[in-house]
């Protein structure tokens, strides 16, 4: 992991020195041992702030939109899932290919920082992280800790489809094999078994916790509307009040608004302060898209039109 960190820094430094980009967006050490934070490096000397490891859960692709009108080019460090966002943003015409440089890093999985932090002395300093195949070894100033991936990785990493970025101008490190620890749609299938009332009760319980902070919407790389329908005043579709009815409208509407474009990066799940399993909604739609249209995950290849945004005259029309 240290080696990869070094390589990322070198690549970023080169791009900045050669003025190929004005800015590199990457991961930097956060304020906790097990966290990173997005960093914005605009000088070759600043690249020492960049880091890499199993605490780099953020999807940095969406920040590219902030710089789409900036005069220079921007580089971004992406994992496999993030790179699907980059493709989706390109296909949505939110950013242009010639203004971005993609530094792709094959990713062996990301750990849930809260679970890791619970087991490490809080004032320990991070020395190194090592990928041991089925586990990560986190070396700290107060000792080494091993975290097996199956129990400590983010849920979405257990069913990772693209450990290697699907778009990259530069790839850092070796490509990794696909390795799944769970069935991709196991949780969706579990919910599908439930009866209507049970399903409804399940989601009522989840949505009643929603604070309507909109972290899920703001972090989503395909939620890019200039004026979100939920911010509109005229007409006011939902108010700022949290109640089950409006919360449900928000979540289900958003899931449908991104349907067919959601790249399943799982950020919505990660950022929710109330641990609402938002991704299950999107996964259900992904499963349906696979079952009905044999559609690959959006963003996994450039030029894939969104399954719900394309039609051909040969499409079946059973219900018309």
């Amino acid at each position: 992991m240290m080696n990869l960190t070094k390589q990322i820094r070198e690549q970023a430094k080169k791009l900045l020195e050669e003025k190929k980009v004005d800015l590199v967006i990457g991961f930097g050490q956060g304020t906790e041992l097990a966290r990173t934070t997005p960093v914005f490096i605009d000088s070759p000397e600043g690249v020492s702030a960049l880091t890499w490891g199993p605490f780099c859960a953020n999807n940095l692709a969406k920040y590219l939109i902030d710089y789409k009108n900036a005069p220079g080019n921007v580089a971004v460090v992406v994992k496999g899932c993030d790179s699907r966002s980059v493709i989706r943003l390109l296909d949505d015409n939110q950013i242009s290919r010639d203004k971005i440089v993609v530094i792709g890093v094959p990713c062996a999985g990301q750990l849930e920082w809260q679970k890791v932090a619970d087991e490490i002395k809080p004032d320990a300093a991070l020395k190194e992280t090592v990928d041991n195949g089925d586990s990560f070894v986190v070396k700290t100033s107060t000792g080494d800790h091993t975290f097996n991936k199956k129990d400590y990785m983010l849920h979405r990493c257990l069913v990772c489809e693209n450990p290697n970025p699907v778009i990259a101008d530069f790839t850092i490190g070796e490509e990794l094999p696909v390795k799944n620890y769970a069935e991709r749609f196991a949780e969706v299938e579990e919910l599908e078994q439930l009866g209507l009332e049970e399903k409804s009760a399940y989601w009522d319980k989840q949505f009643s916790r929603c604070l309507r902070c909109y972290a899920c919407r703001n972090v989503c790389s395909v939620c890019t509307c200039a004026l979100c329908v939920f911010d509109q005043m005229k007409p006011m579709w939902v108010s700022k009040r949290t109640n089950l009815s409006e919360n449900t409208v928000f979540h289900i509407t958003r899931a449908f608004h991104v349907a067919g474009r959601c790249v399943d990066c799982g950020e919505c799940d990660r950022v929710c302060p109330m641990d609402i399993p938002i991704r299950k909604l999107n996964q259900k739609i992904h499963k349906d898209l696979k079952d009905l249209f044999d559609s690959p995950t959006p963003g996994s290849k450039q030029g894939l039109l969104s399954a719900l945004g394309e039609f051909s005259l040969g499409d079946p029309e059973e219900f018309m």
Partner: protein, 347 residues
Amino acid sequence: MKAKIVNKGQLSGLLDKLAKDYDLVAPVKEETITLFKKISSAQDAFLDYTNSDVSPKGCFLPQSEKIFSYTYTGDSLEIVKPESAKKTVLFGARPCDIKAITTLDPVFEGEKFGDEFYSSKRENTVIIGLSCSKVLSTCFCYAFGGGPCDGTGSDLLFTEIGDKYYVEINTDKGQALVDANSQFFSSENTDQLAKDKEELAKKLAGEFVKKVDLTGVKELLDSDFELAYWDEDPYKKCIGCGTCTYVCPTCHCFDIFDFTTGDITGDRIRCWDSCMYPEYTLMAGGHNPRPTRKERIRNRFMHKLKYHLDRYNMVGCVGCGRCIRKCPVNIDITKIINDLKEVAQNA
């Protein structure tokens, strides 16, 4: 200051009685989340927690509340106000969250105008605090004069020591509750427990991980609004969600809107709002004094560290650390404070 003891075995009896006599609000666990809710029996309370995910400020400033109902035709108007607050006990709030409520008091009760909704809840609620037994890596209440066993603002403060709770009675309201439920409060000698509590406070004080130093920060913020610091992080990484403001126990911004319930009837509702949203300060003509995330981030931190202090002589942060835990991009107020301190030193 008087003190009593509640044996651990008696706590559920006390909570069950309080749940009968009052609206009892206590921490509950819903899957992985701890929040404060009204409970009907002691078994619903979840006390094995460090701090809740959402603060108990909702007891006094609910996420949404009805200000009044109206029937309005343009030619006639009728307004019906809601009932006043019920008698409530807030049990199990941590010292930082209780201190936060005291920072909200001057906003709602100390400005030129009062607030009947907040005041009636405040008057009708007995706050029973619960000292911390553990410090999280994100806690820093000490930086603002608080502490894990600090009773400021609580009517009663319970501290868990061994198989007992050491109960400090801090106000008349607290005394009245003890008197009305005396069967649960033992009058054994509390001298040893008082000493044990001091030991606990000392022990916990040594466990803070975050080192926060406010030296020079207020003066720096007073002197220069256009610090170059705000042009860098943290605004670039901020995604503009409202998470920090909604989990924060001292944030008090709200929105007011009308919700129609029929052709001529409706409710006027007050609900939480966030200064991180772009439309927070958007004016009807389209002008926005805080048009980008930079202005909004600067405003949030200046409010916490300067504006609240200027207006009410109390810092706007209590060091609960929730914003640090919940921020999707790890924006950390303690880092910002320490960064500003460095800027002040280098100036």
